[in-house]
Every structure is written in structure tokens, then in C-alpha cells.
Symmetry: C2
Subunit: 406 residues, 2 copies
């Protein structure tokens, strides 16, 4: 066993969360799954949950299911998500649609609050879909996009936001954790800076929810969206979520008015009136089937607690950086993620021009990292399903394949 | 056995589709499921498909699944749906979002084609979510809503549309089959009348898809949307679909610009450019898990063919009308659906003020119809999963409960 292998084995032995790894479906031929930040693994109980839902809920209760819990599911699952992962009191989180659609609704709602404010501040380096959604909103509403330059390392700072936001700023739209670098932005400080300028904030939590504790209520966040298929293990394309602060909710109006967001869905009234609560962000019928897998992961996160999850996440990413320092840097790899544990999310991005050509070989070896063009290998470390030995084996493969090529 | 019971048994014996009924999950305690028009039953193979998808696809292929078929799933499933149920050549149908969200996108895209046309013609009696969506679009775009009065019986006519549509009409938005009365509108004639006025059409096919053959290409339909949880048995809240005519597609732009609708999703470019095809109507990541159940029903519909499905549907609804004439009319019940088979979809609505109070008793007897306020009992007859004996038993219960009350 290599030195790093011994160290990984020791870390696994000392890891209090190691027993929980067996709660996930085992895949013998996958040596190292290093892409839980793109798609989390299913829990081992999830196949039975899905079959059971079809048989015992949909199949047996049929249309009665809507009166027996499905109707409330978007807010009930939202409340659970809020309590376990978001730091949100009940009644502020709804599950449904996709992150893009909910981001659209959130930003449109924020823009509609004050027609005198027409600027949207955002980060130029953010995930493209976020930029695309904002470009579309700018085109249709006449809002003006104000890009923040990408900071060299680290996330967007409150100083940047304070400098960019002013009396014309309607909303600041940012990611909590940058999808490429994993740099963490200080949600509390940036939100305060936006509020100082009289602007709203909309946070994209896709790369942070489930990987570290959030405190949306305490941070005075206005609106937030995020996906459930990364660190919440909801499955490919599982429904997204939206958070809206309770005291703001009565004033928030989104443009896609459907019956599921209406005040009395079964009244089928003449005119649309939005639900008093966070349901108003729904439009059509959300998939109840697709909401099931995330319940398994929420249960596990509730059992373990996000403080412990975050502690392991820091250890895992630090382990990658240790191997970067010891071996990868000498092979010409660059570290594209922050070194400071406190400023780094649950993935580490390593850049090298040879990485793209290595991907088939890594896959053949059972090593599955993420890749972002042009040359970023994203090592995604979903804390509960990833062992140190797995990371070590994956990095062994990266080092070996890279040595062939440099 | 009653006379009607004997007749139902004979119809079941003669029914060439009866053998297919065993393909659906059996629920012993449900005597008569008469709400397949709200939520179709799962097929008996669907629980295994769901468990297998989680274990063998999501669980085993993990992120690789996106390269191995999930990325194309929204259009691949759309093509299958187009071929089997819509009369649509490939490349014009996409699956994702909810019907409300896709209706929003379709109408916004139609409105954007010609800024000089600002009127939306719609049917005042249509499903509320359709009206709500249109009200929201009118409020944000300044479009003017032009309601067509509800015809006494039957669907909206091409004469009505010809009279209402003019040089200011941008789009005519109608349901193929009315959600309450089941009245069928002549899609081909109404589409032609709209085109005569230079307007686009957007059809809501929620109550027709899977219950009768459609020919969207032949009918020269511009845009259409619909849900997959009624006669396509996709499960509660399963993803919706959108059809856009191929020659129109390059000019159609919808406002929710997300990465899944972009030209090169993995390029992560600076500016959004829509996909050349029907993918442009996607925004965020659609649920691949939630798309699975509908594959089972599409396979079955492909095996049986929609012409045979429609033939049984007409027989089933006619059987309800026969019992209405023989017994229910004398008890004060009114028929709210067309008598002419050709003008009636796959449900029959019966009106009586006592129906609402009867629902708990019907449920206790294992009879599950649909109900629409104030007094409409919708007898939904999903052709492949419903037997004549089942309908007969359900109507027996309705007659008996009604006799207690009148």
C-alpha cells in the first residue's frame, strides 16, 4: 500500500461517518465515484421506495392520493428540506419545477417589487444557466445586467457587491458556491451589502445544499433556489426548490400563474389569486414520483447532521489538496479551488490541458470524476457516500494516466 | 345479475382489448376506478421499472447516464409520443416541465412572432389553469384576452373562432377536449379558421392524448401542450409535453432560457443561443426518473393502436349514457356531455346536486369517480384499464346512493 493509501485507510478508520457509506447503493465496478457534486448516488433503500410508491401509493390510492398528502407534498418536503438543510422555518420552501424555472420566477418576482429599480447584479463566472435565465429576463423586461468580474480566487465579496449595487439595483443574483472553483461566497455579508443598497438577493444554492449547514433565515436571505440532485441525491433531474422569506412572501408575484399556485386550487375560480404562502411559486402539477428519492437523503442528513457532514467534506477536499501538493503540482496541474478550508465547498477543481483526453481511460479504470471545459477536472466529494480510500484510488489513477502524458 | 350487468358482461366478453386490462396493477378493494381521466393507473410492470431504473441506470451508470441516453430522453420520449399518440413526425415533441409551464412558454413564443398582433382568443369555460396562465401573460405583456363564450353543448366551433379572430389576433388557445363536458373541438377546422385570420393556435391536449388518435402534423397545428398523467399513465405530476411544428420551430423563442434548451449545453458559452430543434422549449434539467412510467403506457398503446382504443372509449361512454337514459335521468340527473359519439371524449359528466354529498359513500364502496364543483360527477373511462363490468358496478352504486337521497 502506498503512503497515501495508508493515510486514506487511517482517515477512513477514524471517520465517524464511515458507517453511513453503506446506506448508498454499492456499484462494484466503480472504483471511485468523484462526481457526487453533479449527480449524487441513490441510497440503497431508494429502489424499494420507488417501487413501493408506485404500488402502494399511486397504484392503490389512485386519485385519492392527492387528498391524502400529495397536494401538500411540495410544501411538506420543502419544510423538511428547510429544517434539515436550509436553516429555514416552515412555510418558506416549496419543491417543484427545475432550478432554471424557479430562478426565472424568483428573479421576476424580485424585479416586480419595485419598478423603479431595473438593474440585476450577477457574477460573470456563474453557472451558464443562471446567466442565460438573466439574459432572457433582461431581454423581455428591459432590465439591465450588471456583471461582477470573477474574483481571482474565492467567491464574490461583499465589497464587490457594495460597489456595484446602488439605487437602481433591483436584485443581486449569485451562487453560494461557485460551480467551477468551489469558492464559497459569504451569504450573510453579501446579503447585507445588497440590502444596504435597497436591493433584493436571489441565491443559487445548487452546489452547497446538503454539503454544509445553511442558515437562510438568520442570514436574512430574500429568495433562494437550488437543485436536489447533487448533494441531496434526488436522482437525475429531480425537482428543484425555492425559498422565499416569510415576511416578503405576500408581496412576491411570479408570472407563471397555474392552478397549483392558486389560492384555492379546487375552486377553479374565474380569476387567478395566488396562494397566501410559498405555494404561489408553483404553477402546474409537480412530479410526486420524482420527489420520493430525496426523502431518503433528507432522512439520512437529519440523522447525521450537516455540521458533521461539513467536517468530513473539509477533510476530503483537504486530502485532495495534500495529494495535489505532493504529486500533481509537479506534473503541471494547477489548483483552481481555494486553499483555505473555510472558503472551499465540497469539490476541488484541478486544471491540466491533458485531462480531457484522459477521461476515457479514467472511466475504463472505474474512476468517474467530473470535467468542465476547457481543462478542469472537478473532484466532487459527496461526504456521506465517499471514502478517503476511494478518493485516494481515484487520484492514483489520475496521477498514473497523467504520467503517461507529460 | 342485473340486466345491465349481463349486458356489461357480454360487452367485456366481446371486447378485443379486455386481455390488456391485466397489464395494469390490480387493486382488489377498488371496485370501480372511474377517474383514469384525472390520474391513470400504473401498469403492473411499472414498479419494477422504477426500482430497476434507480438500481441499474441512476445507481450503476451514475453521471455517465447523461452521455448514455438521458440527455436525449426529452426528445427521444417526445418522438415516441409523437409517433404513437400525436401524429407527429420526429423532432417536434419534447417532454419536461409541467403543462402550465409549457403552455406559458408556447403562448409567449406565439405572441413573440408578430408584435403587431396582441390579442389572445381563448374559451371562457376552459380548464382554470389555462385561463390563469393567459391572465398572467396578459398582465405582463399587455396582450388582450378575448374570451369565447362556452357553447351550450359541443366544443368551440370554427365559426366561433372565425368570428373572433382577426388582424389583431396573435394566438388562439383552446382545449381539444373540454375538461368538464368532454366535448371535442374539431382541431383541424379551428386551426384552419385561426390560420385564415393569420393567427397561431396552441392546443391543450391534456384530455385527449392517449384516448383517441391525433394527427397534429396533418391538422397543421402550430403548437400544442398536454399532460402525461391522465390517459398516458405517467403517474402523479409526471412531466408534460410540447409539440411545435417543424417549419415554425426556428422562429419560436420562449423566455425561460436555461442550459437544457441551449444550442450546445456543455459549451457553457457566454450568450444563450437556443437549440435548433424542439429542445429550445426546455429550460432546466427535466426529471428522467419521472419520465419512466409513461414508457410503459406508450409501449402498450403502440401494441394496441389508438384506433382500437378510441373504439372502446366510445363504447364505454355510450354504455354510461345508456344507463343514464334508462335510470339516472328519472332520478333528476342531467347529462352534461355530448350524446353524439363523435363529439364526446373519454369521460361522461353527469350533474346532480346530491353528488357532492355522495362521494364519501361511493369511496367506501370502492367506487372512485371524479367530481367537479358544483355538481358534476365525471365518469372517466380510461379504455385499456376499464371494463364494462367495472363501469356497471360503479353506476349501480351511484344509482343506489342517489335513491337514498332523492
Amino acid at each position: 500500500m502506498t503512503t497515501t493509501g495508508e493515510r486514506a485507510a487511517a482517515l477512513d478508520r477514524e471517520d465517524p461517518l464511515m458507517p453511513f457509506r453503506s446506506r448508498f447503493l454499492a456499484v462494484p465496478e466503480v472504483l471511485a465515484y468523484l462526481d457526487g457534486n453533479s449527480l449524487g448516488r441513490p441510497l440503497d433503500r431508494t429502489p424499494d421506495r420507488m417501487a413501493g410508491f408506485v404500488r402502494d401509493q399511486w397504484g392503490a390510492r389512485l386519485i385519492r392520493g392527492w387528498d391524502e398528502g400529495w397536494m401538500e407534498a411540495p410544501v411538506r418536503v420543502g419544510d423538511e428540506l428547510g429544517r434539515i438543510a436550509l436553516g429555514a422555518a416552515p412555510g418558506q420552501v416549496v419543491v417543484g419545477d427545475s432550478t432554471s424555472v424557479l430562478l426565472y420566477k424568483a428573479v421576476r418576482a424580485a424585479l416586480a417589487l419595485d419598478r423603479g429599480r431595473t438593474e440585476i447584479v450577477f457574477a460573470a463566472a456563474d453557472f451558464p444557466t443562471d446567466r442565460f435565465v438573466l439574459q432572457g429576463i433582461a431581454a423581455e423586461t428591459g432590465a439591465v445586467l450588471v456583471p461582477l468580474p470573477a474574483p481571482h480566487d474565492g467567491g464574490v465579496t461583499s465589497e464587490q457587491v457594495a460597489a456595484a449595487a446602488g439605487p437602481r439595483t433591483a436584485v443581486v443574483v449569485l451562487s453560494h458556491i461557485a460551480y467551477r472553483s468551489a469558492a464559497i461566497t459569504d451569504v450573510r455579508a453579501v446579503t447585507a451589502a445588497a440590502h444596504e443598497a435597497g436591493a433584493m438577493v436571489v441565491w443559487d444554492l445548487s452546489h452547497s445544499v446538503g454539503a454544509l449547514p445553511l442558515a437562510l433565515d438568520a442570514w436574512r436571505v430574500d429568495l433562494a433556489v437550488g437543485c436536489t440532485y447533487k448533494y441531496l441525491n434526488g436522482g437525475p433531474g429531480s425537482p428543484a426548490f425555492l425559498y422565499a422569506r416569510a415576511d416578503l412572501l405576500p408581496r412576491l408575484e411570479q408570472p407563471i400563474q397555474g392552478w397549483m399556485g392558486a389560492d384555492r386550487p379546487f375552486e377553479m375560480g374565474e380569476r387567478y389569486a395566488p396562494d397566501a404562502g410559498v405555494r404561489r411559486f408553483l404553477s402546474g402539477t409537480p412530479s410526486i414520483v420524482a420527489m420520493q428519492p430525496v426523502l431518503d437523503m433528507l432522512g439520512l442528513l437529519d440523522e447525521v447532521g450537516l455540521t458533521a457532514v461539513r467536517a468530513k467534506s473539509e477533510q476530503l477536499t483537504r486530502f485532495v489538496i495534500e495529494r495535489f501538493d505532493a504529486e500533481l503540482a509537479a506534473l503541471g496541474v494547477r489548483l483552481a479551488s481555494p486553499r483555505d478550508d473555510r472558503l472551499r465547498g465540497s469539490h476541488v477543481t484541478l486544471d491540466h490541458p491533458a485531462f480531457e483526453s484522459m477521461l476515457p481511460a479514467l472511466h475504463r479504470r472505474g474512476v468517474i470524476p467530473d470535467f468542465r471545459r476547457p481543462d478542469g477536472l472537478r473532484i466532487g466529494l459527496s461526504p456521506l457516500s465517499t471514502s478517503f480510500a476511494e478518493v485516494d484510488a481515484g487520484l492514483d489513477a489520475v496521477v498514473e494516466e497523467l504520467r503517461f502524458r507529460v
